[in-house]
Symmetry: C2
Subunit: 339 residues, 2 copies
Amino acid sequence: MKLATLKNGSRDGALVIVSRDLTRCVSAAPVAATLQGALDRWHEVAAGLAQRSDALHAGALDDEAQAFDPQACHAPLPRAYQWADGSAYVNHVELVRRARGAEMPASFWTDPLMYQGGSDSFLDPHGDIVAGSEAHGIDFEAEVAVVTDDVPMGVTADAARTHIRLVLLVNDVSLRGLIPGELAKGFGFFQSKPSSAFAPCALTPDEFGAAWDGGRLHRPMLSFVDGQPFGKPDAGVDMTFDFGQLVAHAAKTRPLAAGTVVGSGTVSNRDADGGPGRPIAEGGLGYSCLAELRTVETLRHGAPQTPFLKFGSRVRIEMQGEDGTSLFGAIEQTVRAAG
Amino acid sequence: MKLATLKNGSRDGALVIVSRDLTRCVSAAPVAATLQGALDRWHEVAAGLAQRSDALHAGALDDEAQAFDPQACHAPLPRAYQWADGSAYVNHVELVRRARGAEMPASFWTDPLMYQGGSDSFLDPHGDIVAGSEAHGIDFEAEVAVVTDDVPMGVTADAARTHIRLVLLVNDVSLRGLIPGELAKGFGFFQSKPSSAFAPCALTPDEFGAAWDGGRLHRPMLSFVDGQPFGKPDAGVDMTFDFGQLVAHAAKTRPLAAGTVVGSGTVSNRDADGGPGRPIAEGGLGYSCLAELRTVETLRHGAPQTPFLKFGSRVRIEMQGEDGTSLFGAIEQTVRAAG
C-alpha cells in the first residue's frame, strides 16, 4: 500500500491511497482522514486502507479516483511527534572522521549513533530548501526512514521490527558550516539540522517484496545534483545497524509514540576494494551527500574540490523498483535564499 | 487563563479551562477540543477561551463546571511536535563543568546551549518516572517552559517574545549515568533524556501579572525530594538568556510550528556572595536538580554525598503566586522500576 498526504489548506493535509505506478489516487477519508490519525489506530484501519487500495487497483473506485500529482503533496507526515535519525552506515561516519584525522571509537560498530531531530515542520517533496546563507555549507543527505506504531520502552530489536508500519525516503538537509561549532558545544545538532524533506509516498513494507528483509531496504538510493547523477549506493549494503536495532536504541529508556519516524542516516557503500566509494563518473556508486564526496576528495587531494549547494542548486532523490518504477515518488528541491 | 488537559481515553485528551484557584474547571470543547487544536488556530480561539474563563469565574457556567482533579490530567500537551530545551542558567552549566575540571567556553555567555528533546510521549503531572536501573543516575530538573504559536525562521528575540502563548512547569527527567557516554559520541542526548513531565496547567502570560516580564518568570521554583524542601531559586534570576532569545535561537535556521515547547533549562541561582548556591538546610536557596547539589558537594568535599533518585523516591515541583496559591498545580512523581 502506498499512502500520501495532499495539501488541503490544513496543517495535516488529506490522506490518500496511491496506485503502485503513482498515476492515480483515492481519498482515504472513509477510513482515516490523516496519516497521523491512521497511525494512532493502525490496527483498526490498516485492513480498511488495504481494501481501498485493492479496490483502486481493481478499478472499482474509478469514479472517485483522481490523477496523482506529487506537486500537490505534503510530506506523508507534514509534522510528526518524533524524528530520531540514526547514522547506521558506519562506513560514512568512519570516512568523515578520517578526513579530519580523528579516529573512530570501536564502540561505534556496536552502539548506534542517533540524534533527536526537529519534526514540527517537515518540508514538502517539492518544497524549497530555504537557507540564510550559502556560507552555512548547505548539503543534502539521502536516507531511508521508517514510521512506527506505539513501541514499548525496552523493546528488543527483533520485536522492534514488528512495529515498523511504513517506509519513507528522506532528505535530511544539513548545514555543514554550522555543525563543528554546534557539536563542540556538546548538546548535538540544532541549528545545523533545519527541516527535513520527504518523498510523497509512505509505503507499507510488503510493497517492496524481497527488497525489504524486515530491517533493511535493498535498493539503490538514487540522488542527483543539478540534474547530474550523484549517487546510487544500495541502502541494504553496509547498513551496520538495521531498523530493528535503531528503533530499539531509540526506545531503550522511553516508549515511542505512534508516528515516530526513525532514519537510517546517509546511505553509504564502501568501494569494491573496501576503500571509500568512487564518484559515479569514475565508475563508482557515488555518494548520498556532498560531505562524503568532499571527504574522499580531501583524502585523495588534501582538500575538498566540490562546493556545497548554492542558491538555485537542485537536488533530486529517488528510489526505483526492479522494473524501474519510482517507489516513493521523488524528492525534488531547489535551494533558495531566506527572506 | 489557565488551561489543562483531562484524560478521556484519547491520545490528546480533552481541553478544559481551569479556575485561578485550581478548584474548578469547564470544558473548552465549544471553542477547541484539544490544546494542540487551540494552538493551531490561536488567533481564532484565544478570545473565545478567555470569554469562557471569565464566565467560569463569574459563576455563569456553574451548571457545566466540575471539580478540577490534577490526578485526572495529562500534560497540557500530552504529545507535542517539538520540545527544544535550552540551558539558560549559565551559572548551572559553569558549576557542573567546574566540578569535573572543565573550563566553560566564554561563548556560553552569549550563545545559548539548546538540545532537541523527545516530545512524542510526555508524562502526566502525577505519572511515574519509569527507569530501567537506579544505576542510570535518575535525576529531576525543574524548569519553566513556554509554548509558541507559529514562529518564522530568523525571528528576532524581541519578535519571538510576542509568539509566546503559554507558560508551563517541567520536570526534565535526566539519566545522569548515561549522559557522559552519550555526549562523548557527539550527537547530544537521546537515551539520557527520557520523557519529561509537566504540571497540570498551562498559563497565558497575563496570569502572572508583574512576575512575567515578557521573557522571564520571576517566581521561586519550589522542588521537594521525598517531602523535604530541596530548592527555591527564583526562575527570573540568573537566567542569562530569556525566552525571547531561546525561541530566536531555536528558529535561526527553520520556522517553529505552533505548539513548540521551549524550555529554560534547570533553574539555578548563585549564592548571595556570587558563589554556588547553598542547600536550603544551610539557609540557601537550594537547587533544582540533584546533580547541582552533587556538584557543590564535589567542589566542597571532593566527592558527591547525596545519591540520585531511587525506586520509590518522590519528586514534587511547584510554583506559587505571591498569595501562596499554586500557579500551575504540582508535578508529583514517584520513581518506579521498569517491567
